[in-house]
Amino acid sequence: MIRFERVAKRYPNGREAIAGVSFDVPRGEMVFLTGRSGAGKSTVLKLIALLERPTRGVVTVNGRSTGLLAARKIPAFRREIGVVFQDHKLLVDRPVFDNVALPLIVADTPLREIDKRVRAALDQVGLLGKERLLPLELSIGEQQRVGIARAVITKPAVLIADEPTGNLDPELALEVMNVFRRFQEVGTTVMVATHDMHLVREFGKREIVLEGGHVRGVEDVRVPTIGAAAP
């Protein structure tokens, strides 16, 4: 579902964020992307969401090579990918409902359907009843979950998240991570970039470790602990 083949990305300022990264995430799997800050985690996610194109190598997402996609096809491509950001990128002057509905609105979805699906998505992240609140009236954890609801409302085949638990206390972090796992359990391919090693161990999913722009290794950590059902 997500395949990197000897992918390198050099930014216009000359910095080479990743060099020769290869990995393959099959459909329906959930993987963690780990590594220190600056190891290239964000770059990998940007390449998947087509916020950047690879300098060398091939990135294939959902059967399509991102390097070759015409600019006018990028919007449709992005609608098939749910992205959760560490700073959640919510529109602070719009209520929760509008934020979550945005991916449906840009896709010209009928209004009646939007209403139904926004409620369903908010229900999935435990925020039903907070539609009319503004993002800043919510806690950090709730804001993060609004971001997740927005990412999953189009029922994307691929869900990626950049440090989604970075600002959360351990309990909230676990809660958010469980939300991701529920989507994986219904068939979504999920990739979560994190440096919370404790959480990664607890979940026992495959882990792609980046170091200095390379893949240091792919580890299978399958130690079942409390709060994480063993696959």
Binding site: L45, L51, V106, D108, T109, L111, R150, T154
Partner: protein
């Protein structure tokens, strides 16, 4: 997933959203549409000026008279004989003989030079024929032929046509019409610049929002839509203001113009902007607003790409 109903709903939503945004910043909106209104009012005003000038002087073209001046010393009997001959000519509606004596008497009466004229022993004025061409024969070529006919008489000193004055007047109107066209083009660019710049600022103000829209898969067309509606609204409202300005100006000028016309024995009243002019201006304003917004959007939306 999407039908024509949804498409329409989206456009209505974008239009209402744009209107809402303008209403929420009334002062800035008023300033922008005020500038557009002034820019559009000028060509409309010029057009009305030209239209009114033509309407006020509309019967000039039908009143092209020829004045045929005889050489001094031509006997009045000869003049009357020639007048009868001219009268019989096709293309001539009427011929009026103005003998030198009558002309002098009239001049003495109206000019106020009576005493000065008494000092002159002989009448310095010639006999004159006032010739009115028949309707239909007053084309430029027909008039030229008539002029040549009179000029060929050996007793005639000078043939003068009022048409020269009409030509000059029409030339002045033509200059005004050209000036109007030039002003319209220049001011259209002005409107484009005003709308374009306003939309540019709004795009930059809403940068974060645009980024997020693109991030979740919003196409350029989707992101552009509300800005295009904003541009159209600016243009339309600006045009309405222009019409209001011109209506107010017409109302202020109308009494004075009527007085002036009455002084010349005319019942002319000032024409305001007609329905066609108004509709054209509204359409033009909307089109310019749309174009200005489109140009700004094309230039600036592309540069806003989401960054994670």
């Amino acid at each position: 997933m999407t039908g024509p109903g949804t498409w329409l709903a989206r456009h209505v939503q974008a239009a209402l959203g744009a209107a809402g945004r303008l209403a929420r910043a009334p002062l800035a909106t008023l300033f922008t549409i005020g500038v557009i209104g002034l820019a559009l009012a000028l060509p409309l005003g010029l057009k009305l000026f030209v239209d009114n000038a033509r309407a006020a002087t509309g019967d000039f073209a039908n009143a092209v008279d020829l004045s045929v001046y005889f050489k001094l010393g031509t006997p009045i009997e000869k003049v009357r004989q020639l007048a009868r001959r001219a009268q019989a000519r096709a293309g001539v509606a009427s011929v009026k003989v103005i003998p030198a004596d009558e002309a002098l008497a009239e001049f003495r009466k109206y000019s106020g030079f009576g005493a000065a004229l008494d000092a002159i022993r002989e009448n310095p004025l010639p006999h004159v024929l006032g010739v009115r061409p028949r309707a239909g024969a007053d084309s430029t070529a027909g008039l030229a032929k008539l002029k040549d006919y009179f000029a060929s008489w050996p007793e005639v000193d000078l043939v003068q046509m009022d048409i020269e004055w009409v030509h000059r007047f029409n030339a002045i109107l033509e200059v005004l019409r050209r000036a109007l066209a030039v002003a319209a083009v220049v001011l259209a660019f002005g409107v484009l610049a005003v709308v374009g710049n306003t939309i540019r600022l709004e795009i930059l103000n809403r940068r974060a929002e645009i980024e997020v829209m693109k991030l979740v898969g919003g196409s350029n067309a989707f992101v552009r839509r509300p800005f295009l509606y904003t541009g159209v609204l600016y243009g339309l409202l600006g045009a309405l203001i222009a019409v209001a300005i011109v209506l107010a100006a017409t109302a202020l000028l109308a009494p004075a113009v009527s007085d002036l016309a009455a002084a010349y024995g005319s019942r002319f009243t000032l024409l305001g902007p007609g329905r066609d002019d108004t509709l054209r201006l509204l359409g033009g304003g909307a089109a310019l607003g749309w174009l200005g917004a489109w140009i700004a959007a094309a230039r600036h939306l592309r540069s806003i790409e989401p960054r994670a």
